[in-house]
Amino acid sequence: MKAWHYIILAIVLIILAIQLVPVDLPPVEHDNPGDLLGSGIVDGEVADLLQTACYNCHSNTTQYPWYSHVAPVSWLVAKDVRVGREEVNFSTWADYELMDQLAILDDIYSNVEEAHMPLPIYVTMHAEADLDNAQRQKIVDWAEATMDILAEEY
């Protein structure tokens, strides 16, 4: 065997070995009575946009592609989904206090407008989640209008 044979063998062994590291992909839950989509404050195109662009990380209804079960990609996916749900989980929208809902909408506004979200690395693997400027504007307008409506309840 030549040297490069050993190198390839070593790489293959390492990839196989890291599959044994346990990964905790956050669980999927499809029964979410408090979901934003059922709250009555969003519908139509914006609801669709949120679902395709945000819901894989920011809800309990994550759709894991096959490669998200393969290390080391699985580690990244697990972390992004976990952190994403911690920041905001649209599946538990009804559990947030009114003021926190306003803060979340305000963050949606700025993160979508400034293209911090969806994460650029996520969009490279999920072209369907990418938002064009017109779509971003729709989400931004919706967020601002919804903030005003919710603030009236305060």
Partner: protein, 131 residues
């Protein structure tokens, strides 16, 4: 005779004053004025002393200014003010403000327990009181 004639004139003049002092405030965002009245003086005092240095319109700290600008806060809509209060409350709960790095050089900038409580109480809004 003269005095009786003066009465309606005085009433009209009085009415004008009443109108003049009421009108501008009532027409301009009634919500906002009502809401502004709720930012108490003790909160403003802490903000001026411990937050305003970075969070103002002329701040050289671009990040701080962008996140929160006190010169702009009171002119904001109610929805925006409430969102900002919620974020202030979260940052204080996490103990992220003032930033640890800033306090290294300026330990006197730290919020005292009392000051922190004043800001926490205010920024919680109706949360704790349960409406």
């Amino acid at each position: 005779m003269k005095r009786i004639a003066l009465l309606p004139v005085a009433a009209i003049v009085g009415l004008l004053f009443f109108q003049a002092s009421q009108k501008p405030e009532a027409e301009k965002h009634p919500d906002l004025i009502l809401f502004d009245a709720k930012m108490p003086a003790n909160v403003k005092a802490v903000v001026e002393q411990k937050c305003y240095g970075c969070h103002n319109a002329d701040s050289k700290n671009e990040k701080g200014k962008k996140k929160l600008d006190w010169d702009f806060f009171e002119a904001e809509k109610k929805s925006k003010q409430l969102a900002t209060m919620s974020k202030i409350n979260e940052v204080l709960t996490e103990g992220d403000m003032p930033p640890a790095k800033f306090l290294e050089n300026r330990p006197e900038g730290k919020l005292s327990d009392e000051e922190k409580e004043i800001l926490m109480d205010w920024s919680a809004g109706k949360k704790k009181k349960g409406e």
